[in-house]
């Protein structure tokens, strides 16, 4: 198998995880899939920069995280002119929906949105994507101590928001 085919195949196996990571960062499913799509496009264009033998997942996650930061920044600038894009999403009144996995996803996404971006990305990478502290620190170019302290604050906030 040639090098480019293996790159694409490895990227293809990452897609489900990339979509999950996009959902942990984004406001809603549509934004998440836009982010996932932009990430895959960018990864394909930049494939020459990936060093075979290094982890493709960390490399691609980093691309996604940077794109997300860019989007968040440009959106923040625009919000001087626009209304907040989304009031709290309407939750259905059907009690069965409370059980529904999709509804649970919406609730948890809403709670994640309340975290400051710098805590949200660390919580997502460690608690949901399962990266170690060191891997996360390398991906985000941050000292490992910063990862630890953001995790402490992010978790405390989430626990309060999701009120167990």
């Amino acid at each position: 198998m040639d090098r480019s085919a293996s790159f694409e195949q490895e990227l293809a196996t990452l897609l489900p995880r990339l979509r999950r990571f996009a959902h942990t960062l984004s406001r809603n499913g549509a934004d998440a899939d836009d982010l996932a799509q932009a990430t895959v496009e960018r990864a394909l264009r930049s494939r020459a920069q990936w060093q075979p033998g290094t982890r493709l997942d960390s490399w691609t996650y980093r691309i996604m995280r940077n794109l997300w930061i860019d989007t968040t920044r440009s959106r923040a600038r625009k919000q001087w002119l626009e209304d907040p894009p989304e009031a709290a999403e309407h939750l259905g009144e059907d009690p069965r929906e409370a059980m529904d996995a999709a509804m649970d996803l919406k609730r948890v996404m809403a709670a994640m949105q309340r975290l400051p971006a710098e805590q949200r990305e660390v919580v997502a990478l460690v608690l949901i994507e399962g990266f170690g502290y060191r891997e996360t620190a390398e991906m985000l170019d941050l000292p490992i101590g910063t990862i630890s302290s953001r995790l402490v604050r992010g978790r405390a906030a989430l626990l309060a928001l999701m009120g167990e």
């Binding site: 293809a12 496009e41 529904d100 609730r107 948890v108 630890s148 995790l151 167990e164």
Partner: protein, 237 residues
């Protein structure tokens, strides 16, 4: 590292074996700390449970098509449904005979390749039903908790008449079956493409024809893991 950070580092398995052992002893001796540990384990589990279904769901075509390394299109229900809406008016006898023709091919393949074992379907009064072992697997298998059964469930949903339908993938054939009384009526059976084992993109179906059939049959959204489970508990009614 302060105490808080150490607590979470322990919870996340980031301490060395010796440090972890020492911390473990502290937690065991401190009910407050033990309770907090439990709270945060639950929080982590809840986050995973909420987001993991995203990673198990079929990847939308607009993303998977970017890295498509073979020619087969992955399944996109929304897209299939849109095509169906567009075609609804023109969906007449010719198309149904095409489905019927596919069924015949499916049966032929199913009975041929399964010569040693039991055929997956039986025909009764002109209707195609899941035979015993396929029927059992349709009754008991959950897409959210696949067992070692030879058939893997793709999606579960209600059709436009309200009957529950499930797509399935076996080693040689995949298809769609819908509840008819206490049995599963097979609406379509298609040869499985080669090399599908373990391919996550096949979660919703095996062949493009199956995706099209699902798109033409489904009403509303596919069941979530929770809905699938409770439908099973109610006997797929």
């Amino acid at each position: 590292m302060d105490e808080e950070e150490k607590f979470f580092a322990w919870l996340d398995g980031e301490l060395t074996a010796d440090e972890a052992k020492a911390f473990e002893a502290r937690v065991a001796a401190d009910p407050d700390l033990a309770r907090r540990a439990e709270q945060h384990r639950l929080l982590r589990a809840r986050l995973s449970q909420a987001f993991d279904p995203v990673a198990r769901a079929p990847v939308p075509t607009r993303i998977s098509a970017l890295v498509e390394t073979d020619s087969r299109e992955p399944i996109d229900l929304a897209e299939a449904r849109q095509r169906r809406e567009a075609k609804r008016r023109s969906w007449g006898p010719p198309q149904w005979s095409a489905v019927a023709a596919t069924l015949v091919i499916g049966i032929a393949l199913g009975t041929m390749v399964n010569r040693q074992s039991e055929a997956p379907v039986t025909v009764e009064e002109g209707k195609l039903y899941a035979a015993a072992s396929l029927g059992r697997e349709l009754d008991s298998e959950l897409a959210s908790a696949p067992s070692k059964a030879s058939v893997r469930i793709g999606v579960t949903f209600r059709d436009q008449a309200g009957a529950i339908c499930r797509s399935f993938n076996g080693p040689q054939t995949g298809g769609l079956a819908c509840r008819d009384g206490v049995r599963w009526q097979v609406r379509g059976l298609f040869p499985a493409p080669a090399g599908q084992g373990g391919d996550y993109r096949m979660a919703a179906g095996s062949a493009p024809e199956l995706a099209a059939l699902i798109g033409a049959t489904i009403s509303g959204e596919p069941f979530s893991a929770v809905e699938e489970k409770s439908a099973k508990a109610r006997g797929w009614r």
